[in-house]
């Protein structure tokens, strides 16, 4: 299988935060969602791929090329949207394109103009006068104007209205139809990923929780709901996160088959998982003191 992106043993140490031994691979022509609670290391991973921050250890390959050894070539084939896209506020939209275009040999001005029209971006308006959503659209237009084969997006849908968000997701799905474009997409809005992502990589506190296909997650992981007696010896070790409420317990399992087997005949329901449940429970996985609670 040909990979658009391979990260192996990625480490980055900051004061107060460490990204530890993160490995994942994104096959060419697919969309991968990067999920996890705040401070999980999603933005750090995107920044490491773009060499905005220096890795402490590990290796990143983009289309088989080391992202540091072949930095210029690798970046020429990447389109990116950063969480906070720092454009020059006093420049007009057109001028932003004229600043960025010389960096890309394959920059297509006609395509940029077309995307501005499609996104209803006023090209004569200064960036300072654009809303956060419009700035995000500008970042997207820039990212999509040079025929990038790998698109990295850090929280691209935050600040966008639901209509454009939906349109963007459809566009992203459309982009990969050529079989050559791949997308790595970090987001808090996991419902977006359920629509479009083929692969999901989950991080928590700088560590990889899993990196696998969306279908496998939805097949193997599940939510279990039951009474207060759900947590007993028979279900020991089955759950990776537990939420206790006044009327019962909701728990996350990574082995749906095993849960069904062990809970057969008991008053419990095994439900289909949503990705936001997954992030919520994994954020509280571990000691009982960190259990998710609701009152």
């Amino acid at each position: 299988m040909e990979y658009a992106l391979e990260a192996t043993g990625l480490c980055k140490e900051y004061p107060g935060f460490t990204l530890r031994d993160v490995s994942f691979a994104l096959p060419r022509g697919y969309i991968m969602g990067l999920i996890g609670p705040n401070g999980a290391g999603k933005t750090t991973v995107v920044k490491l791929i773009l060499n905005i921050v220096r890795r402490t250890a590990g290796r990143i390959k983009v289309f088989g090329l080391d992202n540091l050894a072949a930095e210029t070539e690798v970046k020429s084939r990447i389109g990116f949207v950063l969480d906070e896209m720092p454009f020059y506020g006093y420049l007009k939209v057109d001028a932003i394109a004229s600043v960025i275009a010389p960096y890309y040999k394959t920059w297509d001005s006609g395509r940029f103009e077309g995307l501005c029209r499609e996104f209803e971006l006023p090209r004569r308006k200064r960036v300072n006068a654009l809303s956060r959503g419009m700035k995000m659209k500008l970042a997207l237009a820039v990212a999509l104007s040079h025929g990038a084969e790998l698109i990295l997006m850090d929280e691209p849908t935050s600040g966008l209205d639901p209509v454009f968000r939906r349109e963007l997701l459809e566009r992203l799905s459309g982009l990969i139809q050529d079989g050559r474009t791949s997308i790595l997409f970090s987001t808090h809005l996991t419902s977006d990923l359920e629509r479009v992502a083929d692969y999901i990589t989950c991080l928590r506190e700088g560590e990889l929780v899993f990196s696998t296909t969306r279908d496998e997650i939805l097949e193997k992981w599940a939510l279990v709901k039951g009474g207060p007696d759900l947590l007993d010896a028979a279900t020991g070790g089955l759950f990776r996160g537990v939420r206790r409420g006044p009327y019962g317990v909701t728990a996350l399992t990574s082995d749906k088959e095993e849960a069904l087997r062990r809970l057969a005949g008991r008053d419990a329901v095994v439900e289909r998982l949503r990705l936001d449940d997954l992030v919520f429970f994994l954020a509280h996985e571990g000691s009982p003191g960190r259990e998710a609670r609701y009152e």
Partner: protein, 242 residues
């Protein structure tokens, strides 16, 4: 020169373009204010060229564009090369404006500016460049290591210390009469030493900076410093997280 470095250079020109006219206007107004003292006139021109060259860096700091620029095609080294190119272009533009304005001012202001005529020469250009280029070559590594504002503060602090030391050395190289101060007794001792160094430096400029051999040697020395400063900046910037 790699194409990402050229793109970075063009970027600096593009983002400062809106300021060229006001900067040029301010430049001539400031020069006009200091026409009565040729050395202050020269120093003002050189300092303003430094400020003009640093403007692009200030804009990038204002909008925190470091991560965006680092993510664009190219290496940290090419970003540094682009900065050095832009710095050089701004310095040369400052020199051009300085010489052009000084030439234009001469006929208009007559005798008051008679001594300025000596600056429209190889000597004037060399004196102007030695100040601005040296300052830039020292400042840029600070900038790439510490960022714009912290780098500027550290550069200023280091600049005071090393300028005072350098001027002290220069004062020791020239004859006593060339560094004598008319009112030395009025100045505290450390300032008097610096003032003597400045007088000695002015004497050196007057006497030697017009000689092609000296200018050639200065150009060679500056070229070596450009290389060392660039290598240091690139090394610093490659290690920085943005």
């Amino acid at each position: 020169m790699s194409s990402p470095a050229i793109a970075a250079f063009r970027k600096d020109l593009r983002i400062t373009r809106v300021l060229w006219a006001p900067m040029a206007f301010s430049y001539v107004v400031f020069l006009l204010m200091f026409m009565n003292n040729v050395w202050i006139y020269l120093a003002t021109g050189a300092c303003l060229a430094f400020v003009a060259a640093a403007t692009a860096l200030g804009i990038d700091d204002r909008y925190q564009t470091g991560p965006l620029l680092a993510a664009l095609p190219g290496t940290r080294r090419s970003l540094v090369a682009g900065r050095y190119l832009a710095w050089g272009a701004a310095t040369l533009a400052g020199l051009g404006l300085f010489l052009a304005w000084t030439s234009l001012a001469l006929p208009s202001f007559g005798l008051r500016t008679a001594r300025l005529a000596s600056f429209v020469s190889l000597k004037g250009a060399a004196a102007f460049l030695i100040g601005t280029v040296l300052a830039g070559l020292v400042f840029l590594p600070f900038h790439f290591r510490f960022g714009f504002w912290r780098g500027m503060w550290l550069f200023t602090a280091a600049g005071f210390v090393f300028s005072a030391a350098g001027l002290g050395v220069i004062a020791g190289l020239v004859p006593a009469e060339a560094r004598a101060l008319a009112s030395a007794s009025l100045l505290p001792k450390p300032f008097a030493a610096t003032a003597r160094g400045l007088r000695a430096f002015a004497w050196l400029i007057d006497g030697y900076f017009g000689r092609p051999a000296v200018v050639g040697a200065l150009a060679g020395g500056l070229a070596l410093l450009v290389y060392l400063s660039y290598r240091l900046s690139a090394r610093f910037y490659e290690k920085r997280d943005l």
